[in-house]
C-alpha cells in the first residue's frame, strides 16, 4: 500500500487529487496539508511514502518545504520511510524545476496531466523511479547533452597526454600548487614542472589556470563534486 500525502493550499484541488488517488486499490491518502509549514509537521506525523506538493502556498512554498522535509529525513535516516516528493504545479519555469530537483524532488509534473498519469507517476516514484513532465525531461536532456557535448573533442585532446600527465592535470584542476602536486604524487617538484610544461604545451594552454578551465570543460574535473575548502 502506497501512503500518500497531498499538499496544496486550495482545498478543492487537494480533495480532487486525494479522491483520485484514494480510488486506487494500492494507494491510500493518509494526510493533507494546506501550507508548507503544516506539511512539514504532517509529514513527520504520518510518515507518508509519497508527498504530492504544490509550489505556490502561503507561509512556506512547496520547494522550501520539500527541502526541509527531505533534509530531516536524511538526518533521521533510521531507515523509516525514505519519503519521496512529487512536485505538482501549474507552471514549469526552469527556475522552479532546478530548485525542485536540488531540493530532492523525485518528480515534477503539471496539474493538467490526466488522472491515470498522476496515479502512474505516484506508483513509479514509490517504486524508486522518477517522473518528470515530458517537456521538462526534454530540457533536462538538452542541458545534459550540452554539458557532455563539447567534452568529446576536448577529451580527444586529452588522449595526447601520458597517464602521468593526466594525473598532474587532475591535480592542477584540484587547485594544487606544483609543490603540493609533488607531494601528492611522490615525485620531486622539478619533475612536476616538467609534467606541467608538457601538459600545457601539448594542450596548447598557457597557464595552469587555463589548464583548470580545460579540465572542467572536458569533464576531467566535475563541477559539484568537490568541497572548495582550500
Amino acid at each position: 500500500m502506497i501512503r500518500v500525502m497531498v499538499v496544496d493550499d486550495q482545498a478543492l484541488v487537494r480533495r480532487g487529487f486525494a479522491l483520485v488517488l484514494d480510488n486506487e486499490p494500492d494507494i491510500q491518502v493518509v494526510a493533507e496539508a494546506g501550507t508548507g509549514l503544516t506539511a512539514i509537521a504532517a509529514a513527520r506525523e504520518h510518515q507518508p511514502d509519497i508527498i504530492l506538493m504544490d509550489i505556490r502556498m502561503p507561509e512556506m512554498d512547496g520547494l522550501e518545504a520539500t527541502a526541509r522535509i527531505l533534509q530531516t529525513e536524511k538526518k533521521a535516516e533510521a531507515g523509516d520511510t525514505p519519503c519521496r516528493v512529487i512536485i505538482l504545479t501549474t507552471f514549469d519555469p526552469d527556475e522552479y524545476v532546478f530548485r525542485a530537483l536540488r531540493a530532492g524532488a523525485s518528480g515534477f509534473v503539471l496539474k493538467d496531466i490526466p488522472p491515470e498519469a498522476l496515479v502512474e507517476a505516484v506508483r513509479t516514484v514509490a517504486d524508486g523511479g522518477a517522473m518528470l513532465a515530458p517537456g521538462i525531461t526534454q530540457r533536462l536532456i538538452s542541458q545534459f547533452a550540452q554539458k557532455l557535448g563539447t567534452g568529446r573533442n576536448l577529451a580527444e585532446r586529452l588522449e595526447r597526454l601520458t597517464a602521468r600527465e593526466r594525473e598532474v592535470l587532475a591535480a592542477i584542476a584540484d587547485g594544487k600548487s606544483n609543490a603540493e602536486i609533488a607531494e601528492a604524487l611522490f615525485i620531486g617538484p622539478a619533475t612536476v614542472k616538467t609534467h606541467v610544461s608538457s601538459v600545457l604545451s601539448k594542450l596548447g594552454l598557457r597557464d595552469r589556470a587555463q589548464a583548470v578551465v580545460f579540465a572542467y570543460e572536458c569533464g576531467l574535473a566535475n563541477a559539484g563534486g568537490r568541497d572548495v575548502g582550500f
Copy 2:
C-alpha cells in the same frame, strides 16, 4: 499521423513493436530496418517522425546510427521533419544512456515496458517531449542535483565580493591573464592585480587556479558552455 520507423536486428521483435504501433489510429509504421547502416538509408528515404532504435545491432550499433541520422538531419535542416529518436533496449547501463543523450536521442525506454506505455512514449516524443525510463530519469536527476548541490553555499561566499571583483573572477575563470583582464575591463594592469588580490583573500584562495576551480564549483562559470580555444 505519426510516421514511425522501427530498427531492431531481431525481425520478430521488430514486427512485434510494429504491430503494436500500427494498431493505433494515429500511428503508422512506415519503415523497418535490421542494422544501423540500413537504418540510416531508410531514414533518409522514408523521413519518419519517430525512430525506435535498438542499440545492439550488427554492422552499426543504434547509438552510432542515431548520431549520424540526427547529424545529417541537422545539416539538412530544410525544416523537413525534425526526426526524433527513442532508444529501445534491454539494458540501461549509464554509458549507453549518456551516449544516447549525447547522440541526440529524445527517449530511452526499456523493452519490458507495457505496450500502452510504448505508444504513449511515441506520442509524447512526437509532441516535442522526451521520455526516459523511470530509473534513468532518477539517475539523471541525481546527477543534475549533484551538480547544482554545492553551488548554493559557495554562491554565498560569492556575495562577499563587489561587483567589480566578480567581473574579475569571471575573467579569471575564463583563463585570462591579468593583462588580458585589464584590456577586457578597460582598466590598468595594476588595478587588476588589486582586484585579484582582494578576490583571493576574500574567498580564502591562494591561486588564480584555485579561483578558477571556485568559479566552476559555484556555477559562476558553467562547464560545457565555452569553446576552449585559448
